[in-house]
């Protein structure tokens, strides 16, 4: 039995949540559906760790679905590049499922909770399938599965606050337009090359030169993925979708959904197309680089002026996504590795920050704005300490994970002759301290509401403590993350040069 599991691991990471989601929808008991969801995410996390061991001890896995060999059949590719987002998504989904056991019943009607867990598992299955697949159209299918499940999850926030419905509608329309643009790009590339397999596409594209349909197809694909990855200025759906979703859902989406699309962007830019091609160099230098710098500053400045705390954190997510695309846009091996490091660390940081804020709003049972944050830090010491550590990580203070990723991005930009990029990164990190200090000052130094007795619930602060501990651990000993990212970038870019 175990060798069947070991042989089929690449598909089991996707199928396990997918099948369990269909079973959970039939179960009417809330606690039982939570237990099944928890065990499914735990088993998926164990599978992804086994895959990590397999990829690093042996070689990359290419799994042909239905025994039809690629390039005619659909193949699932697990190599050192794709193992990074798989580990992120399965780890975050497991920890968030522990967190959601107390948070979910506070915001959603108890008759809909098992259906929400079914959508939860469907979104996780869609995200893991997105990063595992090696076929361009299968990627579109998983992109839409994860996107539609996320829209339905965000719309569940409409039970408490009706703005969640409008946020979900905007997310749906913009996401569908983006996915359709991606499909147009795939269609154009299929028309020129005749294949849909990503590895085969890269071989055939290298033989074609000077074809306008190739440039058009590339453009459509990149713009479609940038809508899903919330790169500025196509990020309009993100702030309201994360702010008005149910709290546990915003933790899951903020930490995983855009990361998977950013990984796909890196894959298309570097693996399918040739890095030394003038098309890619021009795109990186004239399109993605300016947009990333704009994203960094626009996100931070909008966060400074925002009064609603969840919207503030969503705007700062846009700035951090700007850092990741900036690292990809510099285009050297070191900078792409730095991009992967920040991909991993930002998932941990944003997950923890959203968890801290939602546990505060759970205890006081109101929507958190900058005004009713006063004094809550004194009432909830554990949550407050985790919040401070993770905001230090967001600003890039040494001894935390955020410092490591900013260090590597700055090192890579200096070694690629971009001193001005490094100074802009430092400037926007300094700006981000403004809104972080605003929140910390209100939490601790202001007088709180009188006669408020808060007892912190262990199922709520233990996942928060785990992620904060991971933040500090990966800040002190980052060798695991850094080595994996450098190996990933080597495999992504090294095939060509």
């Amino acid at each position: 039995m175990t060798d069947i599991i070991i042989k089929n691991l690449p598909i089991l990471v996707v199928i396990c949540p997918l099948m369990m989601s269909l079973i959970v929808v039939l179960i009417p008991y809330n606690f039982l559906s939570w237990v099944i969801t928890l065990s499914t995410t735990f088993i998926t996390f164990i599978f992804s760790l086994l895959l990590y061991q397999e990829v690093y001890l042996h070689t990359s896995i290419s799994y042909a679905l239905g025994n039809w060999a690629p390039p005619l059949g659909i193949e699932y590719v697990i190599d050192k590049v794709s193992i990074v987002p798989i580990i992120i998504i399965s780890l975050i989904s497991f920890i968030t499922t522990i967190f959601s056991s107390k948070i979910m019943p506070a915001e959603i009607n108890s008759s809909s909770i098992s259906k929400v867990y079914s959508l939860w598992l469907l979104a996780i299955a869609g995200l893991i399938g997105l990063v595992t697949t090696g076929d361009a159209f299968n990627l579109f299918v998983f992109l839409e599965i994860s996107s539609l499940a996320s829209v339905a999850l965000v719309a569940m926030g409409g039970q408490k606050d009706k703005q969640g419905l409008v946020a979900a509608y905007n997310y749906l329309v913009l996401g569908a337009v983006g996915a359709t643009l991606y499909v147009i790009g795939v269609g154009l590339l299929y028309g020129i090359t005749g294949t849909l397999n990503l590895a085969d596409l890269s071989k055939r594209i290298a033989e074609i030169n000077d074809n306008k349909a190739l440039i058009a197809g590339f453009g459509f694909m990149i713009i479609g993925i940038m809508v899903k990855a919330a790169v500025f200025p196509l990020h309009i759906w993100l702030p309201r979708a994360y702010a008005y979703a149910p709290s546990a859902v915003s933790v899951l989406l903020a930490a995983t959904a855009t990361k998977a699309s950013l990984y796909i962007l890196a894959r298309i830019l570097f693996s399918v197309f040739d890095i030394s091609d003038t098309l890619i160099i021009n795109t990186l230098q004239y399109v993605i680089l300016p947009l990333s710098i704009l994203a960094m500053f626009a996100g931070t400045i909008m966060a400074i002026f925002e009064k609603d705390i969840k919207r503030l954190l969503a705007h700062s997510s846009i700035a951090q996504i700007g850092y990741i695309t900036l690292a990809f846009a510099i285009g050297t091996k070191a900078s792409v590795a730095a991009g992967f490091i920040h991909l991993f660390n930002h998932a941990l940081i944003k997950g923890a920050l959203f968890m801290a804020i939602t546990s505060m709003s759970f205890y006081i049972n109101k929507r958190i704005t900058i005004n009713n944050l006063s004094g809550l830090g004194r009432e909830m010491p554990i949550t407050f300490v985790c919040f401070v550590i993770c905001s230090l990580s967001l600003a890039g203070i040494p001894l935390t994970a955020g410092f490591i990723s900013k260090l590597y991005i700055i090192k890579a930009s200096i070694s690629a002759d971009g001193i001005w990029i490094a100074m802009l990164i430092l400037a926007s990190s300094a700006l981000s301290v403004v809104y972080l200090w605003k929140m910390i000052e209100a939490l601790w130094f202001h007088e709180g509401p009188k006669n408020l007795l808060i007892k912190e619930n262990s199922l709520v602060y233990i996942p928060l403590l785990i992620i904060t501990f991971l933040n500090i651990y990966f800040g002190l000993d980052a060798s695991l993350v850094v080595n994996s990212s450098f190996e990933a970038s080597e495999q992504l870019l090294g095939a060509r040069k």
Binding site: M19, L22, V25, L26
Partner: protein
């Protein structure tokens, strides 16, 4: 609408041939145009026609909601079950070759079962969507 004799009699006459046509399209998917999705939609349209003409209550009596939800999940589980069965028999996920005695028989059985699962899920999704939209009251509560 059920007072009108033409609509009533036409629905009663048409109901069975629509379902028959749906089953025909479903099982002829590997010889001609057809397959799971198209057959599922045709199958669902028979029940939706009945519910439109005779009223939502009688439509729900004919095809209750909990059977609907159960068959919906069953279709997807059937699809995944075929894949898992081929995994347990030693091959990759969704390789139909091992499901029968020869390669061709295995492919035939595999495609038939998978398309049947798709048809079940699609028809129940369409009927469930119709029930959800028709049941929606202004106050924002569905049953």
């Amino acid at each position: 609408m059920d007072k009108n004799p033409i609509l009533r009699i036409a629905t009663k006459i048409l109901f069975a041939p629509i379902i028959l046509f749906g089953l025909y399209v479903q099982f002829h998917g590997d010889f001609g145009p057809g397959g799971g999705f198209q057959a599922g939609v045709i199958f669902a349209s028979a029940f939706i026609l009945y519910a439109i003409v005779f009223g939502l209550e009688k439509g729900k009596e004919l095809f209750p909601l909990n059977i609907n939800l159960f068959l919906l999940a069953l279709g997807g589980i059937l699809y995944g079950g075929v894949g898992i069965a081929s995994m347990l028999l030693g091959e990759e996920f969704l390789s139909y070759n091992v499901l029968g005695t020869s390669n061709q028989a295995g492919q035939h059985i595999g495609i038939l079962l998978v398309e049947f699962g798709v048809g079940l899920t699609v028809s129940n999704v369409m009927i469930a969507l119709f029930y959800a939209f028709a049941d929606f009251k202004r106050s924002g509560e569905t049953k």
